[in-house]
């Protein structure tokens, strides 16, 4: 299982802040997970499109599409940050 977190506008658009997912053997990196989630359709496909501005972190470090993910990881998707 992996934990997937959603923040801010993305959390509201998807209607959830976190979920547990059993990682399919075919998914080994962040892009693979994003495509898996986008295949749910509706807001998932709109928000997690490959050309979108959504950022991601793996185990609380900023990550890119080819960052490897594995069972037990904490993955987060979120819009560009706007703090300070």
């Amino acid at each position: 299982m992996i934990t997937v977190l959603y923040f801010a506008r993305l959390r509201e658009a998807l209607g959830t802040g976190s979920e547990q997912i059993a990682l399919p053997q075919t998914v080994s990196d962040l892009d693979g997970l994003r495509e898996l989630l986008a295949a749910r359709g509706g807001p998932w496909s709109e928000e997690l499109a490959a050309n979108g501005r959504i950022r991601a972190a793996v185990n609380q470090s900023m990550a890119s599409g080819d960052t490897a993910i594995a069972d037990g990881d904490e993955i987060a998707f979120f819009p560009p940050v706007t703090g300070g």
Binding site: F7, A8, A76, P79, V81, G83, G84
Partner: protein, 152 residues
């Protein structure tokens, strides 16, 4: 270094005093306070909600401060960032840097703020007369952070 994410307000004077901790080598204290304005991008702002990513936010800011330590001679740094509901005039963020000399203190303080704006996971949602809206990231903030790659 000290990093605190909190809903409560902060007192600049006592935070600076605590960071100086009676260290007589400190000659310079640079600080910055970010404040909620009643307008943003031309529209009125009644209040805002700040969301963060508990755990990662603190780690990201600690990493930013570590980078500043590597680039300038500083003694210590403090970042306090508020989350939750804030109104115009409320303080949002405090950055304080202590150093022997002012050049290092100013540079490190501005560096930490610029990187915090682009690297630390916080998101602002503004409540305006025409409804609530998530604040978009500003290209100017990316430029502010990027220029530190070129300078020393």
């Amino acid at each position: 270094m000290t990093v605190r994410i909190q809903a409560a307000d902060f007192d600049i004077g006592s935070e600076i005093a605590a960071l100086r901790r009676a260290n007589p080598k400190i000659g310079a204290v640079a600080s910055f306070v970010g404040v909620v304005r009643d307008v943003n991008e031309g529209g009125a702002v009644e209040e805002m909600a700040l969301e963060h990513y508990p755990g990662m936010t603190e780690r990201a800011i600690e990493e930013i401060i570590s980078q500043a330590r590597g680039r300038w001679n500083i003694y210590d740094a403090l970042v306090i960032h508020r989350v939750g509901t804030l109104k115009p005039l409320d303080q949002i963020v405090l950055v304080v840097v202590t150093s022997g000399h002012r050049g290092d203190a100013f540079a490190a303080c501005e560096f930490v703020m610029d990187y915090l704006k682009t690297r630390a996971p916080f998101w602002k949602k503004e409540k305006t007369p025409s409804g609530a809206r998530w604040v978009d990231a500003r290209a100017s903030d990316d430029i502010s952070a990027e220029r530190w790659r070129l300078k020393g």
